[in-house]
Symmetry: C2
Subunit: 344 residues, 2 copies
C-alpha cells in the first residue's frame, strides 16, 4: 500500500514533511508516493541514508498552492499543483490516501474534485480529534463549510461516529450538538432544527452540549458548522499557547519557582502531550469518496508522522467504505458509489 504525500505543501516543506512521512512509512511498512518538485525532494531524501527500506515513488509536480492563496482560484489555475497531483494519484488507485500540510482549503477542494462526494453526502466535513478529560473526542466540521444546513450536521454526526469507532475505539459513540445552552430550544436557527433531526436520526444523540463541555468527555462526537468548529478549535490552540507562555513567565520569576518548575518538568511534558494537537497531527476529510488527511501548515515532524500513520490506518480499516455505509444506513439511500484509491 502507498500513501501519497504532498511534499511541497506546508511552512516547513519539504523537510518536515519528508522526515515525518519516512518515519511513519518505515514503522508502518508501507510505501510513499512523494509529490512535488522532484529535485527538491531528491535533495531532501539525500539527507536520509535510511530511506532505503521504504518503497518510494515520485510524482513530479511543478507547482504549489501557497498558504495565503485563495484556494478556489489557485486550484483552478494550477493543474500541476502538488496537492492536486497528490489527489489524482489516489483517484487513479495508485495510492490509498493522500496527506497535505499545505493550504487546507486547496487540499479539500482537490480531494473533492478528484474523488467526488459519497452518495447521500451533500457536504464533506473536516474531523479533528480533541483531547478530553477522559481521552479524546472528535469535533466536526472543523472548517470545511462555513455555512451549513441542519441536515448537513446530521450527516456530519453519522460520519463522525465512524471516526470515533475506528480511531477512538468507542463502540457506540455519543453524539453531542455544540450549542450555547443545553435545552433543545437554545441556540440559533441551525442548531434548533439540527437538534430535532439528530433526535430522530437513530444515532446515540445526547443533546446539545455547551462549548465549556467539549473537553469533558460527555460526547464522543461533537457536531457544529465549520465556522463555529474552526473558532472553537483555534480558540483552544490560542489559549493553550497563552497559558503556556504565562505559566512560563510566572515560573521563571524567582529561584524557588524555577526550581519547582524543574522538578515538575516531567509532569509538564506529560501534560503537554495530553493537550497536544500534534499527537494526532491530521484531520481527515469525511464524505468524499477517497481518503484525504490534512495537517497544520506548521506541522512538526512528529505531527506529520502521526498524520501519515492515521492516513495509513484509516486506509487499512477501509474507512471511506464504512463512512459510505453509515451514510447509506442514515438516509436509507441506494448503494454508495465506488470508492477511489481503495485498491492502492
Amino acid at each position: 500500500m502507498h500513501i501519497a504525500i504532498d511534499a511541497a505543501g506546508g511552512d516547513f516543506a519539504p523537510r518536515n514533511i519528508i522526515d515525518g512521512a519516512l518515519v511513519a512509512a518505515r514503522h508502518g511498512g508501507f510505501g510513499l508516493t512523494l509529490v512535488g518538485h522532484r529535485p527538491a525532494i531528491e535533495a531532501e531524501l539525500a539527507r536520509h541514508g535510511d530511506a532505503g527500506p521504504v518503497d518510494v515513488r515520485f510524482v513530479d509536480a511543478a507547482d504549489v498552492v501557497g498558504v495565503a492563496e485563495p484556494p478556489a482560484a489557485a486550484i483552478r489555475r494550477k493543474p500541476q499543483a502538488s496537492v492536486r497531483q497528490a489527489a489524482e494519484v489516489v483517484a487513479r488507485g495508485d495510492a490509498a490516501a493522500f496527506f497535505s500540510a499545505g493550504n487546507t482549503g486547496a487540499a479539500l477542494l482537490a480531494a473533492h474534485a478528484a474523488f467526488g462526494l459519497l452518495s447521500g453526502v451533500e457536504r464533506p466535513a473536516l474531523a479533528t480529534a480533541i483531547p478530553t478529560r477522559r481521552g479524546s473526542a472528535v469535533l466536526l466540521d472543523a472548517g470545511a463549510n462555513v455555512e451549513c444546513r441542519p441536515r448537513h450536521l446530521v450527516q456530519f454526526a453519522a460520519m463522525g461516529c465512524v471516526y470515533a469507532r475506528l480511531s477512538l475505539g468507542v463502540s457506540r459513540p455519543r453524539v453531542g450538538l455544540l450549542s450555547i445552552g443545553e435545552e433543545a430550544t437554545k441556540g440559533n436557527e441551525l442548531t434548533r432544527d439540527a437538534h430535532r433531526r439528530l433526535r430522530d436520526s437513530g444515532l446515540d444523540f445526547i443533546g446539545n452540549i455547551e462549548a465549556r463541555d467539549i473537553f469533558s468527555g460527555q460526547a464522543d462526537v461533537i457536531v457544529c458548522d465549520g465556522f463555529t468548529g474552526n473558532v472553537a478549535l483555534k480558540v483552544s490552540e490560542g489559549l493553550v499557547e497563552m497559558v503556556e507562555a504565562l505559566l512560563r513567565d510566572e515560573l521563571n520569576r524567582t529561584f524557588t519557582t524555577r526550581f519547582g518548575f524543574l522538578l515538575s518538568s516531567r509532569a509538564f511534558r506529560r501534560f503537554r502531550r495530553r493537550v497536544d494537537y500534534s499527537e494526532v497531527g491530521g484531520a481527515p476529510l469525511l464524505g468524499v469518496a477517497g481518503l484525504c488527511v490534512v495537517g497544520h501548515g506548521c506541522s512538526s515532524v512528529k505531527a506529520v508522522r502521526n498524520a501519515v500513520v492515521l492516513a495509513y490506518r484509516f486506509a487499512n480499516q477501509r474507512f471511506v467504505e464504512r463512512v459510505a455505509g453509515e451514510i447509506a444506513a442514515l438516509s436509507g439511500a441506494a448503494r454508495p458509489g465506488s470508492v477511489k484509491g481503495s485498491s492502492g
Copy 2:
C-alpha cells in the same frame, strides 16, 4: 450613588451576592439597594455586623427567575421577579446600575424592557473582558444575540470601543472582527459583509482576527455574533478547567513533581489570577439606555465584588452616555434619547 443588586439570582444567592456587594460598597463608598425576598436578605445581613457603614435600602421582590427557566416566558410571567424589580429601580432613577448573577437571559430582557435601547442601536450586546498576553481585551457579543446582521457588528464595535477606553485605558482601541481567516474574503456571509462595513466605519479596524489570536493582544475590541462569542468564551473556560485538572493530575503523580508543584504554587496562583474570569466578574450589557452588569451563576464573592465595582465605576464614568455618543457619531443619528438611572 446606589447600585441595585439582584440578591436572589445566582447559584449561591443570597450569600455570595450580599457578601461581595457589601465588600465593594464599603470600599467604594456607595450605597446598595438589595432586591429580593426581604427576610432572606435580612437574615444574611445579620451575619455581617459590618454592613453598618454601607447605606443599604431594600426592595422586596417575592419571585425569582430560575437559572434553567426559559427567560422570555419567566420575565413575562413574573413581574415580581427580583431581576425585573432591580431593573425597575434603575429605570426609576433610584439606582445608577443593577447587577445580577441570575439567569443571564432574564437579566438582559429585564434591562431591555426597563431601559429601552439607545437611539441608533438595534441590538444590545454583552461585553466580556478576556485576558491577553499584553493585558485584556473586550469581546462582544458574548451571547445576547444568537443571530446578527452585519450592521449590528459595527454597532457592537463602536460600543466595545467605549468599554476599552474606560475600562482598559486604551485611547484608540483597535477593533478586530473574529473570523476564520485573516483575509477580508474569509469567513461566512456575516463576517464578509461586516468586514466591508467596519472598514468604512471610521473606527480603528485592523481586519479579521482568527480565533487563535484573540488572546494575543492584537485587538482591543473583538466583535462577533453572540453564538460565536459565547462558544469562544465557553470553550476557553472549559479548556482552562481541563488544563488545570490535567496539570494537577500530572503534578500529583510522584513525590518529586508534587514537591516541585509546592515550590511553584505561588507562580500558579499568579498565573490563575491572570487567566481568571472572576477578576472582572461582570459583563455589561451595551446598547440599552441604562446600566446592567451580569455575572456568572456560580460567581464567587470576589467575582461579585469585582462586578459591582465595575458597575459603580461605569456609572461614575457616565458609561451609557458615552456609548450613546459613540453610536450617534457612528450613525450620524439624531441626539440619543434620555438615559435611565443617571441621576441615581
